[in-house]
């Protein structure tokens, strides 16, 4: 029984992790087309990734979008979490549902809705629309993770701060914020990764000149069968790995997922 369990465990982990190793190796190919085992090893396709103009441009868009949308989601999400956890205002349950609704709605619908009913009738630009869509998607994560930190923070210390003469704002910035800093940083990292990897929301919100990296990769792979997407996939996997490992070491990220 135990042996069977261990075998299944090993096979499943190989199934989950194996493809990553394959794609990294395939990206190190020296040949012209995507193949495994690769025809000789070289870094030419890794170097090529940095030369493709559209990859560079869309990488910049994805990074900016990821950071910007996550910051805005936190800027309005942290006060919302604080309001929900501490003040328990009228209609809190309805508001909670509203704030978590972007999780239930499939991303592709959000993108299409923003295109049809924001970009086209109101003349909003593609980039602001992407920004709105991504921020809406990230607010539920920001609220949930920060709420979790607030629940674990005792209310007494805030009351003590106010009794000792701090204003509401001071007690929030000097007492609450430092104590939920790790939660906010974890929410930032999870939000950034979610936005950076996001495809469905962005799908309809790209146009000539504006696209995100994952969308551009999908467009590229449709017409090219060279190892550059494999090399880029390997690089992205590596980037996520580094971010997650550093965050795990500093914050214990997995507690917040």
């Amino acid at each position: 029984m135990r042996l069977a369990g261990q075998t299944i465990l090993f096979l499943v982990l190989a199934f989950l992790i194996g493809p990553f190793i394959l794609i990294c190796v395939a990206g190190l190919s020296g040949g012209e087309t995507l193949a495994f085992p690769p025809e000789g090893l070289s870094l030419r396709w890794v170097a090529r990734v940095f030369e493709v103009e559209s990859f560079r441009a869309t990488f910049a868009v994805s990074i900016t979008l990821g950071i910007g949308a996550t910051l805005l989601a936190l800027l309005i999400g942290v006060p919302a979490a604080y309001g929900l956890e501490r003040y328990n205002p009228p209609g809190a349950n309805v508001i909670r549902n509203v704030l978590s609704s972007p999780i239930i709605v499939p991303g592709i619908i959000v993108g299409l809705a923003l295109l049809r009913h924001l970009v086209i009738p109101l003349g909003v630009g593609i980039l602001p629309a992407l920004f709105i869509g991504h921020t809406a998607l990230l607010i539920p994560y920001a609220v949930r993770i920060v709420s979790g930190s607030l629940v674990n923070l005792r209310v007494d210390i805030e009351e003590a701060a106010v009794l000792l003469g701090a204003s509401r704002l001071q007690s929030f910035t000097k007492v609450v914020l430092p104590n939920i800093r790790n939660g906010i940083m974890a929410a930032f990292i999870i939000g950034f990764i979610t936005s950076f990897n996001q495809v469905p929301v962005s799908l309809f919100l790209t146009g000539p000149g504006v696209s995100t990296l994952p969308i551009d990769m999908m467009a590229y792979m449709e017409f090219n069968y060279d190892p550059s997407i494999a090399a880029l996939s390997g690089l992205l996997a590596l980037m996520s790995l580094v971010i997650v490992l550093v965050a795990e070491k500093l914050l214990g990220l997995s507690r917040y997922v």
Partner: protein, 275 residues
């Protein structure tokens, strides 16, 4: 200290207004469009949509793949979760990290790996033709099988992680006690483990089922333009044919399926007693 309800509402206002105006309102307008007909309100978009055999085929394929992926994930998920829970704390931490990590990596990168494996010149075909089992490469990519494999890899961790936490909350002695009283492993699983971890199963099942129904990247890369699921059909209808009626219908179907799954499964999880 926290009695000032107006201040509470003021703190909630920016995020709530943002979601209402920038998200719920556009989505609501889009969804309501699916119920508009030339004569007013009605379901004619839906009857037109389902009148096309291709659309029915895509609908059932999406539903079927969702069920398969969820069922297989649950079966293998229990086996994996049980052996992870048995491991020492240090090993358990490492195994859980191995399951969480893929969730952080771009789905495009994760899915593209299967092109290398299942493609015409991929590993599987090299093996099949190299060993003489097949004369010409088999068409594995751009099939339902390829989508199925990709979805399992994408969503499996979302099933196992809730199962692990459910199993960790299982009272320590129940399994040994049942064994001592003569139950075999199958009975232990059906009568003890399954009912006591039902909540974890439901959480994981919801994530995997809804995730599969609403997947875009996997069917787009591994199904191609022929083997469509609902989201790839939606994209194709809009980008190729400007067919916003069909897009609205698919949007309604996806949202209804997603909400119904969430509600129905949550009911199942909280239902007292069980059978």
């Amino acid at each position: 200290m926290f009695q000032d309800r107006r201040l509470g509402l003021a703190l909630l206002a920016p995020a709530t207004l943002f979601i209402l105006l920038g998200f719920l309102l556009p989505v609501a307008i889009l969804l309501s469009g699916a119920f508009q007909t030339p004569e007013g309100w009605g379901f004619s978009s839906f009857t037109e949509f389902f009148a096309k055999p291709l659309h029915r085929e895509v609908f059932w394929r999406t539903f079927r793949l969702g069920l398969y992926v969820t069922t297989i994930s649950a079966v293998i998920g229990y086996a994996v979760a049980l052996s992870i829970v048995d491991a020492s704390d240090k090993r358990k931490g490492r195994l859980v990290a191995t399951l969480v990590l893929p969730l952080m990596i771009s789905p495009v990168a994760r899915t593209y790996a299967w092109v290398v494996i299942l493609g015409k010149t991929g590993i599987v075909n090299q093996f099949l033709t190299g060993t003489g089992i097949l004369d010409t490469p088999a068409r594995i990519l751009f099939s339902e099988t390829a989508i199925f494999i990709g979805l399992i890899q994408l969503f499996f961790p979302l099933m196992v992680l809730p199962l692990i936490s459910a199993l960790e909350n299982l009272p320590r002695d129940v399994v040994p006690a049942a064994r001592m009283l003569g139950a075999n492993w199958l009975q232990v699983f059906w009568k003890i483990i399954l009912p006591l971890t039902r909540e974890g199963l439901v959480v994981g099942g919801t994530l995997v089922f809804v995730g599969s129904l609403t997947a875009y990247v996997t069917p787009a890369i591994l199904g191609g333009s022929k083997v469509l699921m609902l989201e790839t059909l939606l994209y194709q209808r809009v980008s190729v044919a400007n067919d916003f009626a069909a897009a609205g219908v698919i949007a309604v179907i996806l949202i209804v399926m997603s909400i119904v799954t969430n509600v129905v499964l949550k009911r199942l999880a909280t239902r007292k007693g069980g059978k």
